[in-house]
């Protein structure tokens, strides 16, 4: 069995203990930089930050319920070519899954990257986080982690986790190189550090960490959390399925869409370097609009809203990890994630695929077999 380790937590708290671990990691000769969510100096938001100096680890905050962007895109930027060094990246499980999808699409590389996952405590929407945390990020995160880990109601007021986080059945990464375990641990005393493969073990062996066993309480705690999320998710699928089951209803669902395309900018797995919807293909002639209007007597402007969303579903739903950044980015509060996950669960099931599950399965639309899906051929 692979050895597991722990970091001890002093009365100074979880964040301090985690920061000590990252400092030790950064001191390793073959780790040149660390990508981690960090409190900005204002303490009003947490952003992915690339750290090379040990003293900057004091800004790291993976516990904050802030998730302003999916850092898979950042990891992709940092690894699409060699950076000349090795980078450790601390990411949420959904960020790791999205990154794995990008690696499969040749938009990232795991070779010079050490992926570190952390049990995900979930996040609020951007505006909710800022209202909730004010400008005391660190303290807010400490309190938040304590509440989530002890199983108490979250938030100082009624601020809720995003719908994406409530419906996420993958709060623990299985595809990282190292996982930092919080669930089911006595986090007042210790945090679990678990290598998930040889690469992870190699880097952990280089740091002098005390060994530990995984407590039995951990699996149970994770199972309980996941089953709650799955029941929320399935309710969401049923509810959204009902809300979109005709073209008219889908139109109502998307009625406040202004074609800003923020959802695809925020989407970590929208992989096209240039989206067709911002190219000349959709830069129609004025006379074209008139002819569309004349055909039906009226045409809604901007046009092609539904075409955009359904095309995006065709492009990326098999890679959708449900991180919810699309919803987060929508200026008009359309629950985009709920729509996309509802469709994605079916498209992924159809190809027996699960986004981000591993690096070995090819994206469904990148391969084929000579004998398959005979049921879609023919007219009878």
């Amino acid at each position: 069995m692979t050895k597991t380790f722990k970091i001890e937590v002093s009365e100074k708290g979880l964040l301090k203990a985690l920061r000590g671990f990252f400092n030790a990691l950064l001191e390793q000769e073959d780790i040149h930089a660390l990508l981690a969510p960090c409190q900005l100096p204002s303490q009003t938001m947490v952003m992915p930050t690339l750290i090379t100096a040990g003293e900057r680890v004091n800004q790291i905050d993976p516990l904050a319920p802030a998730f302003p962007m999916n850092s898979a895109k950042i990891a992709s930027r940092l690894t699409r070519k060699s950076s000349g060094g090795k980078i450790a990246a601390l990411m949420r499980p959904c960020e790791i899954r999205a990154f794995i999808e990008l690696v499969k699409l040749k938009q990232g590389n795991t070779e010079d990257l050490l992926l570190i996952g952390i049990d995900c405590l979930g996040a609020f929407g951007n505006r909710d986080y800022q209202l909730w945390a004010g400008d005391n990020g660190d303290d807010a995160s400490r309190q938040y982690a304590q509440e989530v880990l002890s199983g108490k109601k979250t938030g100082r007021d009624n601020t809720k986790l995003t719908q994406a986080c409530q419906a996420c059945e993958f709060p623990v990464s299985e595809t990282a190189d190292i996982n930092i375990g919080l669930f089911g641990m006595d986090t007042d005393r210790e945090i679990l550090i678990q290598p998930l493969n040889d690469k992870g073990a190699h880097h952990l062996n280089a740091i002098d960490l005390p060994a530990t066993e995984i407590p039995a309480t951990r699996a149970k705690d994770i199972e309980r959390r996941i089953s709650e999320k799955i029941s929320f998710r399935d309710q969401m699928f049923a509810q959204v399925g009902e809300q979109i089951n005709s073209q008219k209803k889908l139109g109502a669902f998307l009625s406040s869409c202004v074609n800003c395309y923020n959802c695809r900018v925020a989407c970590p797995v929208c992989y096209c370097r240039e989206c067709v919807f911002v190219t000349d293909v959709f830069d129609h002639d004025p006379s074209q609009y008139l002819s569309w209007a004349q055909r039906g007597g009226a045409v809604k402007m901007p046009t092609d809203t539904m075409l955009y969303h359904i095309t995006r579903l065709a492009h990326m739903s098999t890679a959708c990890v449900g991180c919810g950044q699309c919803t987060n980015a929508c200026p008009n509060d359309i629950p985009v994630m709920a729509l996309f996950r509802t469709v994605a669960q079916r498209t992924q099931a159809a190809f027996d695929y699960q986004a981000g599950r591993n690096l070995t399965e090819n994206p469904p639309l990148s391969e084929f077999k000579e004998e398959e899906f005979e049921e879609v051929v023919g007219i009878n």
């Binding site: 399925g241 979109i244 089951n245 005709s246 073209q247 008219k248 209803k249 889908l250 139109g251 998307l254 009625s255 869409c257 067709v276 039906g296 009226a298 045409v299 809604k300 809203t305 539904m306 075409l307 359904i310 095309t311 579903l313 065709a314 492009h315 739903s317 098999t318 509802t342 469709v343 079916r346 498209t347 159809a350 190809f351 469904p364 639309l365 084929f368 077999k369 000579e370 398959e372 899906f373 879609v376 051929v377 023919g378 007219i379 009878n380």
Partner: protein, 141 residues
Amino acid sequence: MTDEFEPTIIAFFCNWCTYTAADLAGTSRLSYPPNVKIIRVMCSGMVDPKYVIKALLDGADGVLVSGCNPGDCHYINGNFKARRRIKLLKEILPHFGFETERLRLTWIAASDGVLLAETLQDLVAQIKALGPSQARIQMAI
């Protein structure tokens, strides 16, 4: 004259097999219904899902994609790629109330003018029975 519903069907035919079959049907004086509007593409594998989505949202009552038989693709495997895309669309579109019968994929060889005419006759009959697409009635946004 009756007011029978006349569907519009958009058909994407590959240049090498099905389009040639349509040509052959013509030169053989076989008839098929005028409801089918044929778009010639070089390969069924180049039919982007958004062409299909656009056609259906703009009120087509049916979309047919047709290419070479498995193993006969002029570009070796374009038709297998088309099959995966059609599979994908058939998983997405029903969420929004589009009947899967409105989207069809067939393989028709260049020598099969008869099969082409029969297929189109059958398809038009089926879509007539299904009735007009919701997109015809509803303005797509």
